[in-house]
């Protein structure tokens, strides 16, 4: 028996990532109504995908397996976006054990319903955060004490199940008065 190998390049595509970089100065806008449009100009394909998956999860599809697949995808995309965090820190902000994160990323275990709320909350925080913090600075932001969190770092607050407060703080950065 002889064996020959052939390689077929079945897929080749060019990503459509935007070249538009985020500039904090764009926050100084006079009309709050314009703010959203300007912020959307800061296109990040990872965030677009996170938003798309969140929208799919909101529709609460009844197709068997869809929700599990979407949660798995949401986990991977959110982890991808959390630049500067290690896998242990990603597990920490999710309130999971590292072994749970590994099994979920490896496809050995589905994201449990009890875990999905914190995952969705973290991805929502990621979307808000993308409008105020450059991607390269995300890791530092999670590890920096925030007065509005009573001196806790966002990572500590998330670990203590105070994710709603973190989301409120990040959302407050987007208030026009903040600029």
């Amino acid at each position: 028996v002889t064996t020959a190998q052939a390689s077929s390049r079945t897929e080749l595509r060019r990503a459509t990532a935007s070249s538009v970089g985020y500039e904090p100065e764009t926050f100084r806008v006079a009309e709050p109504s314009l703010q959203t449009d300007i912020l959307i100009g800061n296109v990040d394909t990872t965030l677009q995908q996170i938003e798309a998956v969140l929208a799919r999860l909101e529709t609460k599809t009844r197709v068997r397996g869809d929700e599990e697949r979407n949660l798995g995808l949401l986990l991977r995309l959110t982890a991808a976006w959390l630049e500067g965090l290690s896998s242990e820190e990603v597990a920490s902000v999710l309130g999971w054990q590292i072994s749970s994160l590994q099994r979920a990323l490896h496809g050995e275990r589905k994201v449990q319903a009890s875990q999905s709320n914190r995952l969705i909350l973290l991805s929502e925080i990621a979307i808000l955060l993308s409008r105020v913090v450059e991607r390269e600075a995300i890791g530092d932001w999670f590890r920096t004490s925030v007065p509005a969190l009573h001196g806790l770092t966002p990572m500590e607050a998330l670990r203590r199940r105070r994710g709603d407060e973190v989301r409120t703080v990040v959302a407050s950065y987007l208030e026009p008065v903040f600029g």
Binding site: S7, R76, H106
Partner: protein
């Protein structure tokens, strides 16, 4: 003093192998890893290896076996390639600049892998440098005697009654820390006027697959050892031809 100018071409590959991650068989499983790297490596492709098993005696119909896909991500200029499959990640460039840039890209890759794939500890790490040299005075393999040490030439550079058609010497050296340096030497099979010094330094010692100092320092030590061996293999005439000069200090840029 280091050789800053590549000899003719210098391809460098770093590969980290880990226990299989079956989710990497599917596009959804690689989505996070791809997204983490997309801004730096926007060109993506997937290679499906297909194996055909043919029974020479024709007792059985040919069998086709699909193997695990290899996902490839490239920079826009295609000078850098990241690849991953169920049990490895790798960084490769056929245009090696210097260790500093390679290290930075490797750290970024390992951080992305840790965060989006969370592999278990490595089962093998390796750094490979493939030097292919040429010299204007070399037209055939025996001409390399003037430019390379005899120890790295076929049969020690002995005069042979014929023309060398092919010759690859392979040597495996174990160090005292579970590392192995595999040295493959010989005329380049694609062009016998060129000489190939293919160095592969690897270990099965387990490392966390993340950009921590332990792993990065080990790889840097391998890189330096291979560079030292390469310099040692050159005769002064070849060394001069390569025009060695100090590498720029990246911290001064």
């Amino acid at each position: 003093m280091t050789v800053d100018r590549p000899p003719a071409s210098l391809t460098v590959v770093c590969q980290v192998r880990f226990p299989p991650i079956l989710s990497l068989l599917e596009e959804a499983g690689v989505a996070g890893f791809q997204e983490a790297l997309r801004r730096s490596y926007p060109v993506t492709a997937v290679d499906h290896q297909v194996a055909f098993a043919v029974d020479a005696a024709q007792r059985q119909a040919p069998q086709i076996k699909q193997q695990a896909p290899v996902w490839r991500l490239q920079t826009e200029d295609e000078r850098w390639t990241v690849s991953t499959a169920v049990d490895f990640i790798a960084l490769e460039t056929p245009h090696y600049p210097e260790w500093g840039e390679f290290r930075e890209r490797l750290q970024f890759l390992l951080a992305a892998a840790d965060r989006t794939l969370a592999p278990a500890r490595s089962v093998r790490i390796g750094l490979r440098k493939i030097n292919v040299m040429r010299h204007p005075e070399v037209a055939r393999p025996r001409d390399w005697g003037k430019f390379l040490r005899s120890e790295v030439l076929p049969l020690g550079g002995s005069e042979l009654p014929g023309v060398i058609r092919s010759c690859i010497t392979e040597l495996n050296l174990n160090d005292d820390r579970d590392g192995t340096l595999t040295i493959r030497l010989g005329p380049d099979p694609e062009d016998l006027a060129k000489y190939r010094v293919d160095l592969d330094y690897w270990t099965e010692r387990k490392f966390r697959v993340m950009p921590d100092e332990m792993l990065m320092n080990q790889l840097e030590a391998y890189s330096k050892s291979m560079t030292s061996f390469f310099h040692w293999s050159l005769r002064p005439e070849m060394y001069k031809h390569l025009d060695p000069r100090p590498r720029p200090d990246r911290s001064q840029r």
